[in-house]
């Protein structure tokens, strides 16, 4: 077992993990933050995307032990109390979600795209979303949501 400490959504956590435990399983099963989803087993779908030290990361592609000392934000940490994060607001405004399963990962990735490109082009959005799969929307309204989030964040 490995002793690790990290910050998640502003809270300090100290715990012990098996060497093979994936970060996503720690987040979901032990910390009960079930907004981070597992949609595949090959790191393709992006449903488990979180922010780790300010960068979007697929939490299924990392061991929990590797998160020692990290600052993690999950979908549950995006809103500021009742105030939605602009990306969350844009997703509902633009109907960027249907079943909602890929949505937490999409929102985390979108926030990351906007951090790198505050006024992203269509190409930058598409490239940024390459690692996130959605089966419901055809991505049309997801792309729209990212454009809209950029507008909201500029305002």
């Amino acid at each position: 077992m490995n002793k690790i400490e990290f910050t998640i959504n502003g809270k300090k956590v100290a715990t012990q993990v098996e060497g093979r435990t994936l970060l996503v399983n720690l987040i979901r099963d032990e910390l009960k933050l079930t907004g981070t989803h597992v949609g595949c087993d090959t790191s393709q779908c992006g449903c488990c995307t979180i922010h780790l030290d300010g960068k979007s990361v697929k939490s299924c592609a990392m061991l929990a032990a590797q998160a020692d000392g990290a600052n993690i934000v999950t979908i549950e940490g995006m809103a500021d109390g009742d105030k939605l994060h602009p990306v969350q607001q844009a997703f509902t405004e633009c109907h960027g979600l249907q079943c909602g399963f890929c949505t937490p990962g999409m929102i985390m990735t979108a926030a990351s795209i906007l951090k790198d490109h505050p006024q992203p082009t269509e190409e930058q959005i598409v490239k940024g979303l390459e690692g996130n799969l959605c089966r419901c929307t055809g991505y049309i309204n997801i792309i729209k949501s990212v454009h809209r989030a950029a507008e909201l964040m500029k305002a």
Partner: protein, 766 residues
């Protein structure tokens, strides 16, 4: 802020509750051992090493399932063939008995303290397989001397379904001036909802009841199937479902892991949770499509359609999955004349078993396939016999003046304006401007094509005889409404609350919605067949009217008048008024018993006929075989539209799944070994962001012709995107490549397929 949909707030905040998000104290975790062979006898299973592994509490095999008295998984159709015979249907075991019939078939179920321990122990089970030859395609299954998937089913032939008038159709072909024949494959697909399957079962020994969390599309079918399989009365199974991460047809009935978790929970006395992986999805979720349709059209000298004739090859997979046989019998037959005036049709569908994962319904379940085949056939006929492909359609459309129209396939289309929908789409896409656009593409060395499809589909009447809804009023005046359908992204919560609140003329926030609550033993269809908004929605309209009728006399009494009027949630009379909510609070029983406004409603609504014209414009880079979808136009007659934003999302999603089938998705088995070659997202190309045109190049235009078959005038939208896009995309493709000498293509037209076809055509021409 106000979310666009009521369900959005929890979903964008990470507070949705999907199957694997449920947990119970003391739960154990399960993992499934799956067959690594397509066809083999199981000589021996030794579970002892697994049982001895750390944390392992139980290893279930077919012996445990048989001891529990569990029956076959439910599937197939009760239709009889022309000789009065039922379909041949093997026992479909929950865990493999003495043989396995497809890769991925469940063989054993390990229960341990942690998921990792269960997974580790699965690898310790020793199974001795004696392999036998496997067949993974319809053609191989039906070839003389083919190995039998099931020893007692000769030629692997399950059923031959015939529909229409064979003699009349043959006579029409004999007298035809022109005949065209087209074969289209609708390849095997993986439905791949983003949420993998999972379940949590808990048996309460004190009450004999089960709690089950597992994704479903509604309450009735899964519970009825669970009862038929396990013998546990449906009313003793509390199936609790909240959020579902996509269904697309494959979640309408229970999977083996659900029954195994129930059995394990009963045996071990604690809750048992199973969390499937994407690999489990690929291997063991029911697959989609997997059929080939060969169509012939008979035309007279002017291009009038005289008859359609179909020969269908339907791959059921290894067993009769829940709705697999339904696709090959009913769904590809009843709409086989499309939007055209066809005096005579005949369909013969052969359903065969193969050593592959069983097939069930996937978005459209046969309807996109037949729409695809018809529209390919019409385009091909125009091409072969020198007709304009628009004129050929215009000449043969069933016109609004001919409605209601009973087709030769036996469906009565109640309404629709196919000619106007076509013209609307042509105008939207600027069809006549295409030659100039093609010239531009040619200058850049690209091939450009435009294709259209005039599709129609039957949105289902539903398997249940009616759709019941209920309203319960709390002491504080809050109204909660219930129905039996289960959502998985369609926005039911938003749509149904809006319909109900609309009749009451109150803000939707005043209403709560609960789907598929097992405490309500109502009758109602699960979500499927693009029917839910029309069916359940109509019933919610009646429900609101029923509630108002109950409230009215109470309002009169409260206001001390004989007659009251009602508007915007307020009863008025004699110069006084009271809100519905205040009235509900006033008359609430002190003992929290039945509220006088509690109401029920029900209705039966027949099939509707959503239709439309989809047009795709594509550009191909002949050097790479990559196709760019430049423009997409979907002019749809979906009847009245209840929630424009949600309907648009459904069209986008349906077209995206059509795009996936057209350009990439294909569940491929190795023909020799029967191994499944595309069982991960690394091997199976799911559509990604930017592969469809953006909203500026994707025109979705409603052309509503409201139906009178339900109270809302709605026709259904869920599956129309697939029905329109498959033929529109392929017709555009053929239009683009025909000048380059390519005569035939089958889906999926991947860049490699296309590049090779163009190269071969060049070589042939040279």
């Amino acid at each position: 802020m106000q979310p666009s949909r009521r369900e959005d707030l929890r979903l964008i905040a990470g507070h949705g509750r999907y199957s694997s998000d449920w947990n119970l104290p003391n739960q154990l975790h399960a993992s499934v051992l799956r067959s690594t062979h397509a066809a083999a006898r199981i000589a021996r299973i030794d579970t002892a090493p697994a049982l001895a592994a750390p944390g392992v509490k139980a290893v279930l095999t077919h012996l445990d399932v048989e001891r529990a008295g569990y029956k076959s998984i439910v599937g197939g159709v009760a239709t009889k063939d022309k000789n009065g015979e039922l379909m041949k249907k093997p026992f479909y075991p929950i865990l493999a008995t003495d043989r396995v019939c497809h890769v991925g078939q469940a063989v054993a179920f390990v229960v341990a303290e942690t998921p990792e321990q269960a997974q580790d122990a699965v690898d310790l089970i020793e199974v001795e397989y004696e392999e036998s030859p496997a067949i993974v395609t319809f053609a191989d299954a039906r070839a003389p001397g083919a190995p039998a998937v099931h020893a007692d089913i000769p030629g692997n032939l399950s059923f031959v379904h015939e529909h229409g008038d064979e003699a009349k159709t043959a006579a029409a072909f004999a007298g035809a001036k022109f005949v065209t024949k087209v074969r289209v494959d609708s390849q095997r697909l993986i439905c791949n909802p983003m949420e993998p399957r999972a379940c949590l079962a808990s048996f309460d020994a004190a009450t004999g009841r089960y709690l089950l969390h597992a994704a479903s599309q509604g309450l009735i079918a899964p519970r009825v199937h669970l009862q038929q399989i396990t013998g546990v009365p449906a009313t003793d199974i509390d199936l609790i479902v909240e959020d579902v991460g996509g269904s697309f047809g494959i979640r309408s009935s229970p999977y083996p892991e659900y029954m195994l978790s129930m059995l394990a929970s009963k045996t071990l006395g604690v809750p048992v949770k199973w969390t499937g992986s994407r690999t489990d999805t690929f291997l063991s979720d029911y697959h989609g499509r997997a059929l080939s349709l060969t169509g012939e059209v008979a035309l007279d000298d002017k291009g009038n359609i005289l008859a359609f004739r179909w020969e269908d090859e339907i791959d059921l997979g290894a067993y009769a999955g829940p709705f697999g046989a339904f696709i090959g019998t009913q769904n590809v037959s009843i709409m086989c004349g499309g939007v055209y005036r066809v005096p005579s049709v005949f369909v013969r569908s052969c359903l065969a078993y193969t050593n592959t994962t069983p097939v069930s319904s996937y978005r459209g379940a046969g309807r996109p396939d037949i729409a695809y085949a018809i529209e390919r056939l019409i385009d091909q006929a125009a091409q072969e016999h020198g007709f304009d492909n628009l004129e050929l359609r215009r000449r043969n459309f069933i016109t609004p003046a001919e409605m209601p129209h009973t087709t030769a396939a036996g469906q009565t289309y109640d309404c629709g304006d196919f000619p106007a929908v076509l013209e609307h789409a042509l105008k939207t896409v600027d069809w006549s401007g295409f030659p100039a656009r093609r010239t531009q593409s040619e200058k850049r060395g690209k091939l450009r094509g435009i294709g259209l499809a005039s599709y129609i589909e039957a949105a289902a009447a539903g398997a249940q005889p009616k759709d019941q809804t209920a309203a319960r009023v709390a002491a504080d005046g809050t109204i909660t409404i219930y129905c039996m359908a289960g959502g998985s992204g369609q926005g039911h919560e938003t749509t149904f609350v809006s319909v109900f609140a609309g009749v009451l003329d109150v803000a939707p926030d005043a209403i709560q919605y609960r789907a598929s609550d097992p405490a309500f033993a109502m009758i109602g269809n699960g979500t499927g067949g693009s029917r839910t908004a029309a069916g359940q929605g109509s019933s919610f309209t009646l429900l609101a009217q029923a509630l108002l009728a109950k409230a009215r006399p109470h309002a009169a009494k409260a206001l001390g008048v004989a007659e009251v009027s009602y508007a915007k949630g307020v009863f008025s009379g004699g110069g006084k008024s009271i809100t519905l909510k205040d009235l509900a609070r006033q008359v609430a029983p002190a003992d929290a018993g039945t509220h006088p406004f509690d109401s029920e409603a029900e209705g039966s609504y027949g099939a509707t006929y959503p239709n439309g014209c989809h047009i795709a414009e594509i550009e191909i880079d002949p050097d790479t075989g990559v196709t760019d979808l430049l423009r997409y136009v979907a002019v749809d007659d979906l009847g009245n539209i209840l929630q424009p934003m949600i309907v648009e999302g459904q069209v986008h999603g349906g077209v995206a799944q059509g795009w996936g089938q057209m350009f990439g998705e294909h569940a491929v088995y190795d023909r020799e070994s029967g191994q499944f070659l595309t069982a991960s997202f690394m091997d199976y190309p799911m559509p990604r962001a930017g592969w469809l045109p953006n909203s500026g190049h994707f025109d979705r235009v409603p052309h509503p012709v409201p139906t009178k078959k339900n109270l809302l005038g709605a026709k259904g939208v869920g599956e129309s995107g697939c029905s329109g896009s498959l033929p529109a995309l392929m017709n555009a493709m053929m239009h683009a490549v025909r000048p380059a000498g390519v005569k035939e293509l089958q889906m999926p037209v991947t860049p490699a397929v296309l590049w090779r076809a163009l190269r071969d055509a060049r070589a042939k021409a040279a």
